[in-house]
């Protein structure tokens, strides 16, 4: 029996799998179902609450975009087989560094932002190096950094300014060329036009009378969309994306096939840190201040969004689009409960439930792809 004769005819043992099942075998499924469910729910229960007028939409879009920015980093890192629990602390740390550089040390804001990016991405690289050099689980290594970074975030402002919140960044950023890329808004004229023709409401009183209630899309949202597109293309359309899947699927097999696994993992830690810093910079520019408690629990929210988006905690499988939908679900529910007048603590109950549901669904999908193993 030669290899060529066997199976040259159509294999009778392969059942045609139905389109439905085929559609099921994709990481985004949970995210898509969840998004539809969540929107249906709030359209039915909270339509009149203002959640779906221009201001309301902007409200949950901004919150979703925040989740998205950190979810993209966490998603790629998780697919590459690692975790980063220091994301939340990194957000606090990055924001504090920008504040210290620009306010306490009175550096130009653009320089403060750039140095902070370099510093934070470097810390991400250290995370990665420790993980690949020691072979320790990234869970433990980044847990250490969760405390280290948070500690410094409280320590520095205490020592330098004798307080835990540093303000005055808005004044410092006045006229800066880089700050608007994080704190500015785009599309102002379009919204003005929409206000004029009555597509969106305008203020009827006060100093801003006649101006549209939404005067532009915050850069935060632009960053979120940009990062999602970048992450999605990187993962699915490039050689590096294949390496990310391979590194997380089985590092040893990938290494044996010539994939530079260590480089991939370190770069993903750096990218996660980059995303956290983008988040922090946008937040600092918006609030005009940095607080020592910023970003608390964000690492878990990022991971939950990623898992809702269909990624496996064990690595090697997942989708950036899925993670973005996970973040959208998050934002819509968190703000939706507020609009619907539901006690906000119930949001946590919802989180726990949806996380559980997502993990169970993912396990089922994984069995489908790998053929019941």
């Amino acid at each position: 029996m030669s290899a060529a004769t066997q199976g040259a005819d159509k294999d009778e043992r392969i059942k045609e799998i139905s389109r439905f099942r085929q559609a099921l075998i994709r990481p985004e499924l949970g995210g898509i179902v969840g998004t539809v469910a969540v929107f249906t729910f709030f359209l039915l229960t909270a339509f009149d609450s203002g959640m779906f007028n221009a201001q309301g939409v902007m409200n949950w879009s901004v919150v979703s975009a925040q989740f998205m920015i950190i979810a993209v980093g966490a998603c790629l890192l998780m697919i590459a087989g690692e975790f980063d629990l220091s994301v939340g602390s990194m957000i606090g740390f990055a924001g504090m560094m920008i504040a210290i550089f620009s306010v306490t040390l009175a550096w130009p804001v653009w320089l403060a932002i750039m140095i902070t990016f370099v510093l934070c991405v470097f810390i991400g690289a250290i995370n990665g190096f420790i993980v690949i050099r020691t072979g320790l689980p990234s869970f433990i290594v980044t847990l250490a950094f969760l405390f280290i970074l948070r500690g410094f975030t409280i320590f520095f402002p205490q020592v330098l300014e004798r307080k835990t919140i540093i303000g005055g960044i808005k004044d410092a950023a006045e006229g800066d060329w880089l700050a608007p890329f994080f704190g500015g808004k785009v599309g102002g004229p379009i919204f003005e036009w929409m206000g004029n023709v009555g597509l969106i409401e305008t203020f009827s009183r006060g100093t801003r009378a006649g101006q549209p209630v939404v005067d532009g899309i915050p850069m935060l949202i632009v960053w979120a969309i940009g990062l999602v597109i970048f992450g999605h293309i990187l993962l699915t359309r490039t050689r590096f994306g294949n390496w990310i899947f391979a590194a997380g699927g089985d590092a040893e097999a990938a290494r044996n096939s010539g994939v530079p696994v260590n480089r991939v993992k370190v770069l993903m830690f750096m990218f996660t840190a980059f995303c956290a810093t983008v988040f922090a910079t946008c937040q600092v520019m918006e609030f005009g201040s940095a607080g020592a408690d910023r970003g608390l629990l964000k690492e878990f929210e990022a991971i939950i969004a990623v898992v809702i988006g269909g990624a496996l905690l064990t690595g090697g499988y997942g989708s950036v689009i899925g993670a973005a939908l996970g973040a959208l679900i998050f934002g819509v529910v968190q703000q939706g409960l507020f609009f619907a007048g539901v006690e906000s603590s119930l949001f946590r109950v919802f989180l726990g439930l949806i996380l559980l549901g997502a993990v169970i669904l993912n396990t089922y999908i994984r069995r489908l792809i790998t053929g019941e193993r």
């Binding site: 290899a3 294949n242 699927g249 097999a253 096939s257 010539g258 090697g316 790998t370």
Partner: protein, 259 residues
């Protein structure tokens, strides 16, 4: 015979206090199937791992096409033309066949100056190569996890051949396979050898080795007893060498020579 493609000269490998290899010399010629036999823990996997750049030899030298070579990592060996199908870790089950097939060798196409992974090309080639090997895929995006053990081995072999391997190393490709799948893999080895590739075939099954092997090297506790040509050695002699001589003789009595 012609020049060997690769010559492993007096290779030693120590893992701390464990001496896994104590001076092993093996040559591989183009178009031959060189069988590496030996019992569990004899050092076969360790030996081919030094050949494929996973381990650095503690002592000894590697001559590739006559020139001394040092492989810093598997990538170097792959670039030189040494493809390896490892015993356990050859494929990633969660990834599609086509992504696995091109893992580490992704074809690129440039759009707007950015190199993208050419998935159309990858999918097309994967389907073609699989058809040549007699495996009908549902589609190039079928996950490797849904393939049988033999099919996975075949994918790994097809991949190695496709990327122009001069030496193809197979670490126990038949040990987990059934009769039919084994014969498929052996037929594939035969096909590959005829294309002029030097095949290193590891097995502890003497019958599988004799079915395709041109030359045989037996490893025992990190040492070799030299290399024998096909026809110079009987299956019984090979069997005895693998077990290190006498023990098997006593065994054979009670088992009636069925081992």
């Amino acid at each position: 015979m012609s020049e060997p493609i690769i010559r492993m000269n007096n290779i030693e490998k120590h893992f701390g206090s464990v001496i896994a290899l104590a001076g092993v010399t093996v040559e591989v010629f183009p178009g031959e199937c060189h069988c590496l036999l030996g019992d569990n823990g004899a050092g076969k996997s360790t030996f081919i791992k030094t050949m494929s750049g996973v381990h650095k030899p503690t002592k000894g030298e590697i001559l590739f096409e006559g020139k001394p070579m040092e492989f810093a990592d598997p990538r170097d060996a792959i670039e030189a033309g040494i493809a390896t199908v490892h015993q356990h870790l050859a494929m990633i089950p969660m990834m599609s066949v086509s992504r696995n097939f091109f893992m580490g060798n992704e074809p690129l196409k440039t759009r707007l100056g950015i190199p993208f992974f050419d998935r159309e090309y990858a999918d097309r080639v994967t389907m073609e190569e699989m058809r040549k090997m007699g495996i009908n895929l549902r589609g190039p995006d079928q996950a490797v996890g849904t393939l049988s053990g033999g099919e996975r081995q075949t994918v790994a072999i097809a991949r190695a051949v496709h990327f122009g391997a001069k030496v193809l190393i197979l670490d126990e490709p038949t040990s987990a396979l059934g009769v039919r799948q084994t014969s498929n893999v052996l037929a594939t080895i035969d096909k590959v050898r005829k294309q002029g590739v030097g095949v290193v075939f590891i097995s502890h099954n003497v019958r599988h080795a004799l079915a395709v092997g041109d030359r045989f090297t037996v490893l025992n506790r990190g040492k070799t007893f030299g290399t024998a040509k096909r026809g110079e050695i009987t299956p019984e002699e090979l069997q005895d060498l693998m077990a290190g001589g006498q023990e098997l003789a006593t065994l054979e009595g009670s088992l009636g020579g069925t081992v």
